[in-house]
Amino acid sequence: MNQDQPILQMSGIHKRFPGVKVLSDVRFRLFPGEVHALMGENGAGKSTLIKVLTGVYSTDEGSITLEGKPLVVRSPLEAQSIGISTVYQEVNLCPNLTVAENIFIGSEPLIFGRINWKEMNRKAETLLRDRLQLNIDVKLPLENYSVAVQQLVAIARSLNVSAKVLILDEPTSSLDRGEVEQLFLIMRKLQREGLAILFVTHFLDQVYEISDRITILRNGEFVGEYMADELPRIELVSKMIGRELQMLERIPKGADNVSPQAGIIAQASGLGRKGVIEPFDLAIRQGEVVGLAGLLGSGRTEVARLFFGADRPDQGKLELPIAGGTAASPRQALEKGIAFCSENRKTEGIVGDLTVRENMILAIQARRGWFKTISRKRQDELALEYIKLLNINPSNPEQLVRNLSGGNQQKVILARWLLTQPQLLILDEPTRGIDVGTKAEIQKLVMSLSEEGMAVLFVSSELEEVLRVSDRIAVLRDRRIVKEIADQEINQHNVMQAIAGG
């Protein structure tokens, strides 16, 4: 192992997209024969950094060197040809082609100008067996195999083109325990062969199990580079999600502590979905803000979606003692007074072609049905009222939502759900990608709503925010609710300890 000279070095990387700075002065080094974990929460800039490295994006500033030589990569293909290969979370192969083809397509062995299938199958078999210890029938279409095998095939494809650097972008997020073991076995083998591996994951256990070195990014900035065995878990977590480990003042809440007598709005017992979230119990009371804390991929969103019926649980049940019955579908949830702001504002939130007013009244109108329309005058009143209440800018209700900034779009969606006067409001990352002022506004709104008796389930990747607004926090780790922390116990240290686990 040559530990002195990094094979890959990125320094002073800047990248901005119109209106946002996604990377500023980021550096990254990768040594041959090491597994280097790149860590960070949503929006930290991990994927942008990888895309810069693999030539998907250009850099605005900064330099990249490979084996000491400056490097300009213009396309993933070019990156591959000089030895930087990437395996993405969603396997970028063709499921309809055979395993062998997926490894060799574009460089198939030819004989008299035609594809030599025999030779190709034989080479694929040898490659998979010798380097990845995988014995499968390479003549079958890729779709016949599990995601784990597909990942390995993707790795095989990148090895085929003599890789020096292998980037694994969240390869483990859809694998089960055994499959992860198999992948790690192979990663170690490749590592011994001198390959430099950049590994992105959200699972702390895995980071400590496999990586030698850790680089942490936060909000597009470089936080630090550490040797894995010198960085305690809790510190890793705090570097990823918190400012420094300092106690934050909780905003004093008016009617502190929800009384245990307060009615339960929603009660999940043993609710779960296989491969997505382990069964959990969680109750939400009137006037209570329940926060969900945990790292990206820990199952926060999945819990929230189950409460709304957006995904179907395959075990356990959700009861709504006050409204009665359950919420098996969004439609039902809406009727029972549950509202849900999805984390995917673009794809699951706004209806871009419609105006602010129309977006706002959609949910309430859906509940009223086709014919009980809200008069145009009433619509205008409601829209203006909420534009003022939530301080939406521009204040024109006839503006197309598509043309609003992210923060204002979020407010429109909030208004849409507030109009339905829900008993339980589920907010999944309501402040992501929103400026600081708006963030504070939304946090304040959440608290005042809960004072009025609304129950809120609050999901955010920013721990500070969760700490600030929640009466009770359920902490998730590796798709499991591991701890509930309430009242006086709520502080950064306790929550981080629970997130870090181990």
């Binding site: 998907v56 993933p76 209806v351 949910a363 859906a366």
Partner: protein, 345 residues
């Protein structure tokens, strides 16, 4: 001024006006309307009269396209509707009897509802892409129409039935009133109830609509049913107009003309916002084009060449990539993957 240019009806209206203006210069008596036997005659009236079925089908198609769908089977439904109505009437003892004609119309409307529901069912519940789901009825429908007519051209001699396509009310062709009534009803239904809003929401963002609690399946089935109904009535008008049903040729290529009318009218094939008035103007443009080409003595089939260029131009203008390409040629050439990947994220 700028607002006027950006209004969604500006371009369709401008094209229509340009076409009419051309006609005015080419043949000054184009705008003449004469009264004979209480009927108005003239090129403009003809355009409205002959364009009526297309306007109807296009209105139905607008709602379907607004939900991100497409209905290829309308031409076949037009043929089936005409065939069934003419068959029913031709079998009657007194072809002029109002009850017979009414039952024929009722039967046809019922069947076209059913055919539309079939399309809607396939699209909404099986998850087959609309273009494929409706292709089935497009292929089989022609056969069904010919089955009904036994491959013959069924002629009817019913003055009552004839009235639908040739009669006059207040000196104007009766078909215009049918179209106007349906246009009015749809406008009211979509703009005065929440239906229009739901259709646009489902077409623009199906996932968000699901989370909002909109019953999108019901919406989708409804619009296909309505589209079937429009095609059925168009079939009635067409067959009544020529007093016969031709399973093979009636409504041929109507689906394409209707889609074209919708697109010219400003409704995007990607679903979302829809413009009924725009569609009506789009259909009238197509009809005016046909009439114009007839008038200047070019073989009418050449309209197809013109249509080809219209389709292409409109779609290129709607294509985001095309617009961006014109602007950002240089950048995308340097980093081709930036464009490709960001498209999929």
């Amino acid at each position: 001024m700028n607002r006027m240019f950006r209004h969604h009806l500006f371009w369709p209206l401008a094209i229509l006006a340009a076409l009419l203006l051309f006609n005015l210069f080419y043949s000054p008596d184009f705008f003449n309307i004469v009264m004979r036997n209480g009927h108005m005659y003239g090129s403009l009236i003809d355009i409205l009269n002959f364009g009526a079925p297309l306007v109807l089908v296009a209105i139905g198609m607008t709602l379907v396209i607004a939900t991100k769908g497409i209905d290829l089977s309308v031409g076949s439904i037009v043929a089936i509707a005409g065939a069934l109505a003419c068959l029913t009437i031709s079998r009657g003892t007194d072809q002029n009897a109002l009850s017979l004609v009414l039952s024929a119309v009722g039967l046809t409307v019922g069947l076209s509802f059913f055919l539309g529901a079939w399309n809607g069912f396939l699209v909404a519940t099986t998850g087959i892409q609309p273009i494929i789901a409706t292709l089935i009825l497009m292929v089989a429908g022609r056969g069904i129409a010919q089955l009904i007519t036994s491959g013959q051209i069924i002629t009817v001699t019913s003055d009552t039935y004839n009235y639908i396509g040739n009669g006059a009310l207040a000196a104007l062709p009766f078909s215009i009133f049918i179209v106007a009534a349906i246009y009015l009803i749809v406008s009211l239904l979509t703009r005065k109830t929440a239906l229009g809003l739901f259709i646009e929401s489902v077409g623009c963002n199906p996932q968000a609509s699901r989370l909002i609690g909109i019953r999108s399946r019901l919406i989708i089935i409804t619009v296909y049913m309505f589209c079937g109904l429009c095609a059925g009535i168009a079939g009635l008008i067409l067959s009544s107009n020529v007093a016969s049903a031709d399973g093979n040729n009636a409504g041929l290529w109507y689906e394409l003309d209707a889609i074209l009318a919708v697109v010219i009218g400003g409704t995007s094939l990607n679903g979302g916002r829809f413009y009924l008035t725009g569609t009506v103007i789009g259909a009238l443009i197509i009809q005016t084009l046909t009439t114009t080409i007839y008038m200047i003595g070019v073989p009418p089939e050449i309209t197809l060449v013109v249509k080809a260029f219209v389709v292409l131009t409109v779609c290129l203008i709607q294509s985001e990539v095309f617009r961006k390409k014109v602007v950002q040629r240089w950048k995308t050439r340097r980093y081709p993957a930036e464009r490709e990947v960001s498209r999929h994220v």
